[in-house]
C-alpha cells in the first residue's frame, strides 16, 4: 500500500470564489452569488479553463456541465466520459476491530467481500433509515476505505466516530484525495486497463500517477473510479482527457444515475426513509445484527407501506423532485431522459400502486400528467448492440 493511502493530514482548501452565473429554478434567469466558503476540488482551475459552468453543490463549487448535459450524457452511454467527483468523502476505518465496528454499523455483510473487493452498503439508523449510502473497499481485514456522499461526509464520519470501539479508528481523509470517475463502454479500453470484475479494486500507475483503481461507478456503464493524491489530480485528469474521455459535469451524472435508478441520498433515500421501502433490501443482511436491523426485520415481516418506484411520463412533461403523485405519493427524483427522450423519475407510492404497469398521475405545476410505473432500471444498456 502506498503511503498516501495511509494516514496524513492536510488543511482545508477554502475558496474565495467570485460570483458565478446560475439559473433559478422556477422563474426568471438570475445571477446567484456563490457563497465564499465553497470548497474547491484540486481540479478547480482545470474546470474553469475548460469553460465549465460551476455551481454550488453540497458545499462545493462543482462543474454542472462543460459542453452540455445531453452531449456529455451521450458520451458516457456510447464511449467514455470523466467526472471530477473529488467532492466525495473518503473515510479510513482502521484497526484490529475495524471489521467488527463496520459489521455492526453497515447494512450489507462485509464477510461477503475479501481484500481487493468492494461492496455497496448503507449506514443505517435505529429506525432503519439511511444516514448515507456508500461503497466500502476492503483493503485488508484491518483497513476499510469508505467513499461517502459529499453532503454526508460529516454526518457519516460523526456517526462512526461516536460508535468507535477500542481497536478501531475512523479518519476523514477526504481533503487528501482526488477521485475521477471514468465511465462508459470504452472507458477501460481507453485507459488501457484490463477487464476486471465490478466491485474490485487495486493499485496501479496511469500516466505516471499512482492510483487506486476502483471498478465502481454511478452511471450504469462499465468503468472505474480512480483515486489519487490531491497533488497528482491535474496530471491524472490531463492524462485521462488525452486518452479521449469527454469531461462531464454533475448534470450528466444525475441523468445517467436516474436512468439506471441508482438512488440519490437526500432525494430518494434519507434518514427518514427505510432501506426496504427504498428497494434496497438486497444490501441489507437481515441475518446479522446492525443498527436498525430489528426495525427492518419488522418492516420485512409486515411489508412496507410504500415503495420507491421508477416511472416514465406518458405525456410531454418533465417530473421534478417534490411533485405530488395522486393517491399519496411524491416524486423524489425527476428529469428528462436523454436516451429515452421523455420525462422519467422515481418516487414513493403506496404499495397498491407500485407494480410495473400501474398508472400514476403526477401534478406538474398544476397540470395532471400521466405516467406509468416501469421495472428498474428505466434504461438498460444494449449488450453487443
Amino acid at each position: 500500500m502506498p503511503s498516501w493511502l495511509a494516514a496524513r493530514r492536510v488543511q482545508e482548501t477554502r475558496s474565495d470564489a467570485p460570483a458565478c452565473r446560475g439559473v433559478a429554478l422556477r422563474g426568471v434567469v438570475t445571477v446567484q452569488p456563490v457563497p465564499e466558503t465553497l470548497l474547491r476540488t484540486p481540479l478547480h482551475s482545470r474546470h474553469v479553463a475548460a469553460g465549465a459552468r460551476l455551481v454550488p453543490f453540497a458545499g462545493w463549487e462543482m462543474p454542472v456541465q462543460y459542453e452540455g448535459v445531453i452531449p456529455e450524457h451521450r458520451a458516457v452511454r456510447s464511449d467514455c466520459g470523466v467526472f471530477d467527483v473529488s467532492h466525495m468523502g473518503e473515510l479510513h476505518v482502521e484497526g484490529p476491530r475495524a471489521h467488527d465496528l463496520l459489521q455492526s454499523l453497515l447494512s450489507n455483510d462485509l464477510d461477503r467481500i475479501d481484500d481487493g473487493e468492494a461492496q455497496y452498503t448503507l449506514l443505517t439508523n435505529e429506525r432503519g433509515g439511511i444516514v448515507d449510502d456508500l461503497i466500502a473497499y476492503r483493503i485488508s481485514a484491518h483497513h476499510y476505505l469508505l467513499v461517502v456522499n459529499a453532503g454526508n461526509r460529516e454526518a457519516a464520519y460523526d456517526w462512526i466516530k461516536e460508535r468507535e470501539v477500542r481497536g478501531s479508528e475512523v479518519r476523514d481523509a477526504s481533503e487528501e484525495y482526488a477521485l475521477l470517475a471514468v465511465q462508459g463502454p470504452q472507458a477501460l479500453e481507453r485507459l488501457g486497463l484490463p477487464e476486471a470484475k465490478p466491485f474490485t479494486h487495486g493499485m496501479g500507475e496511469l500516466g505516471g500517477v499512482e492510483v487506486m483503481v476502483n471498478r465502481t461507478g454511478y452511471t450504469g456503464e462499465p468503468g472505474c473510479e480512480l483515486m489519487c493524491t490531491a497533488e497528482d489530480a491535474e496530471a491524472l485528469w490531463d492524462w485521462v482527457l488525452e486518452r479521449g474521455a469527454v469531461p462531464c459535469g454533475l448534470g450528466a451524472r444525475d441523468t445517467l444515475r436516474l436512468e439506471v435508478c441508482f438512488p440519490l441520498h437526500g432525494s430518494d433515500i434519507t434518514p427518514e426513509t427505510d432501506a426496504l421501502s427504498a428497494g434496497l433490501g438486497w444490501v441489507c443482511a437481515l441475518d446479522k445484527d446492525f443498527t436498525g436491523a430489528e426495525e427492518l426485520r419488522r418492516i420485512r415481516a409486515t411489508g412496507p407501506e410504500r415503495k420507491l418506484v421508477a416511472f416514465v411520463l406518458e405525456e410531454k412533461a418533465i417530473p421534478r423532485q417534490g411533485m405530488p403523485i395522486s393517491g399519496g405519493g411524491e416524486v423524489t427524483s425527476g428529469t428528462h431522459s436523454p436516451m429515452l427522450d421523455r420525462g422519467i423519475g422515481m418516487g414513493y407510492v403506496p404499495v397498491a400502486m407500485a407494480d410495473p404497469g400501474a398508472d400514476l398521475t403526477i401534478d406538474v405545476r398544476g397540470k395532471e400528467r400521466a405516467a406509468t410505473v416501469v421495472p428498474k432500471p428505466i434504461y438498460k444498456r444494449q449488450e453487443n448492440a
Binding site: 433559478a24 426568471v28 441523468t255 412533461a317 418533465i318 428529469t335 436523454p338
Partner: protein, 131 residues
Amino acid sequence: MAASEDYPEGLKYHAEHDWARIDGDEAVLGITWFAQDALGELVHFEAPEPGSTVAKGVSYGEVESVKAVSDVIAPLSGEILDVNAKVVDAPETVNEDPYGEGWLIRIRLSDPAEVDALLDPDAYKQVLADS
C-alpha cells in the same frame, strides 16, 4: 449546435430575457440568447393554446432544460395567433437559432403602445451587464 451570443438589431427586448419582432399589429416572441444559454439545452416547451391571450409581464409558458425550469414572460399583450410547433417537437431549436427558427409564439397586439417601453439591443445588453 448552439448559436453564438447575439442580440440582433431590429428586435425589441424585455428585461426578463425575451425578444419581440414587431410586424404592424402583430409580433413574434421568443427568448434571448442569454436565456437559452443560461438554461442549457431545452428539452421541453410548455406552450400556451392559440386563441388564448397573453399579458405583458406575465408568464405565458415554460421552457425546461434537463436541470432547470423557467417561466417565459410576455414582453407585450395580445392574442396568440400561432405557436411554433417545431419548438414543441424539437425544443433544442431554440438553442440552435433563438431569433429565427426558435421563435415561440406569434401574437396580435392588443396595445401597440406597449412597444415603446421595450428595450433596444444596447439597452438590453446594459441590463445583462448590470445583472
